[in-house]
């Protein structure tokens, strides 16, 4: 039986504490990561929700983002939620963006695609994980939308017909917040990837 994996949670800014608590419930250990030095020995990485413009600024200044990209390219499982999927995207659907994404998923993302906070919402999401279909609660807060996706990136979550979760090998991106509900389906799946 493999040991409990340690998941690094990027803690430049945002709801990293919610991820920490949710991953403890899902059976993983966690470490909050502020700088590249804190990445050593981690089994997986999570980029939480927050403001992607702030995260861009703070994480390039100390070299954290290039180090995260390197780890992802070397096969470490990485999951981004909300602002996190923005950081993982290839292209942003906006002019003069303050965000410099890592290009780890072949997607174009539009920030705050559903409008301002009064349009933030909860709605169920359909997931396909390990060829098993199920419905989980979705929390969308000033959420981004995936406006374009190409292979080898593939969808695994839908809000109606809209793609809201994608993966490319070891890299997962979700436009919603699985860490904010009691349903641990997505987090347990990710802990599984981190344990392999």
């Amino acid at each position: 039986m493999p040991g409990k994996p340690t998941i690094g949670i990027i803690a430049l800014q945002g709801n990293f504490a919610a991820h920490k608590h949710a991953f403890h419930r899902a059976g993983a250990g966690t470490r909050l990561v502020h700088s590249p030095e804190e990445l050593a020995g981690l089994d997986a990485l999570v980029i939480p929700g927050g403001e992607s413009s702030t995260m861009t600024l703070l994480g390039y200044e100390n070299g954290l983002w290039p180090a995260v990209r390197k780890m992802a390219q070397a096969g470490t499982p990485v999951m981004g939620t909300c602002a996190g999927i923005i950081m993982l995207a290839e292209v942003l659907d906006e002019e003069a963006s303050k965000v410099a994404p890592l290009g780890l998923l072949n997607i174009t993302v539009s920030r705050n695609a559903y409008g301002s906070q009064v349009d933030s919402f909860e709605q169920s999401v359909r997931l396909r994980l390990d060829s098993d279909e199920r419905t989980v609660p979705g929390v969308f807060i000033r959420a981004p939308a995936i406006t374009h996706m190409v292979q080898p990136t593939e969808p695994f979550g839908w809000l109606g017909d809209e793609i809201v979760a994608v993966r490319k090998g070891n890299v997962l991106g979700l436009t919603f917040h699985p860490e904010m509900t009691d349903d641990l389906t997505v987090l347990r799946h990710f802990v599984g990837l981190a344990t392999k």
Partner: protein
């Protein structure tokens, strides 16, 4: 698929979870007061997680006197058009019509704020009626829990806004934290008595007793002017800081804004803070909040 899926699949807006959720997204950040689209751009460029759109910063409200009201919608909309980060705006305490207008403008958070002239001496806005989340100020746990019971999704200290004097924010944060610790340690049988003493609802008192924290995020505001002030408030338990007059009343707003953002990330690293604090130019001049006449103490507004 279950039969009740129809209901489950409906899109629900303005829920408690999405309100508190946005507050959670703002953690570990700096929220800056801005009065023009240019200032908003500077704030975003410097790494602010949100801006507070105002007609006048608190220091100018103090200087000018008169009745301070909700900002002109024009200013709020121009600032909304300029930045991609959340935009907050202030309504007067109890002025639910101003709050309704702010919600209609699509602001991301309403600050029911003592910085503006109160509109109701008895009642705060009943915030559960709104889809937009609210932040409210407090001087201690009792006030915080009353505001949360009314529907506030985020709490901040009141501090003494527009002074550049952090002493009141420190007093309020320390009071909240020590009252939380006291409640967390007490016996369940004492909760009703504590609720009575605090004049706070039992349900909220019970949450603090059980989890040792507020049911919503807890930020600092009021008099924060330097990276050291920001670090102080974070070390005392704040999860994010609001900076009002402190940035755009200083001699070099760009650098100061950037430095305060960095100081929140590195708040426990004195060597880094020393580096961050160098060469920022002059801080806002400020006022000694102890020497303010009673009728100019904004923190006394609201209950």
């Amino acid at each position: 698929m279950q039969a009740n899926n129809d209901n489950k699949d409906k899109r629900k807006k303005g829920t408690w979870r999405v309100k508190v959720g946005l507050a959670e997204m703002l953690k570990g950040g700096v929220i800056m007061d801005v009065t023009t689209p240019e200032q908003a751009a500077i704030a975003e460029e410097a790494g602010a997680v949100a801006v507070m759109a105002l007609e006048r910063v608190p220091a100018d409200i103090r200087r000018d006197g008169g009745i301070a009201r909700m900002a002109d919608p024009d200013i709020i909309l121009k600032i909304k058009d300029t930045v991609s980060i959340p935009v907050m705006a202030k309504c007067r305490i109890g002025h639910f019509a101003e709050a309704q207008i702010l919600e209609a403008l699509g602001v991301d958070f309403v600050d029911e704020s003592e910085v503006l002239t109160p509109a109701d001496q008895s009642n705060h806005v009943w915030k559960h009626d709104f889809a937009v989340p609210f932040v409210c100020g407090c001087r201690g746990l009792a006030e915080a829990l009353r505001r949360i019971a009314e529907g506030a999704a985020l709490i901040r200290t009141k501090g003494e806004p527009g002074t550049g004097d952090v002493v009141e924010a420190v007093r309020h944060m320390r009071k909240v934290q020590s009252e939380i610790h006291m409640l967390h340690r007490c016996d369940e049988s004492e909760l009703q008595a504590h609720a009575k003493e605090l004049s706070a609802p039992l349900e909220q008192v019970r949450y603090v007793w059980k989890y040792g924290k507020l049911p919503v995020p807890n930020f600092a505001a009021g008099g924060i002017a330097t990276p050291a002030d920001a670090s102080l408030m974070m070390q005392l338990g704040a999860e994010t800081v609001f900076v009002g007059s402190g940035i755009f009343k200083s001699s070099d707003p760009q650098r100061r804004a950037r430095a305060i953002v960095a100081s929140v990330l590195h708040y426990r690293d004195p060597a880094k803070l020393a580096e961050i604090s160098r060469g920022l130019g002059e801080s806002m001049k400020g006022l000694d909040s102890a020497k303010l006449p009673e009728d100019q103490k904004l923190a006394e507004r609201g209950w």
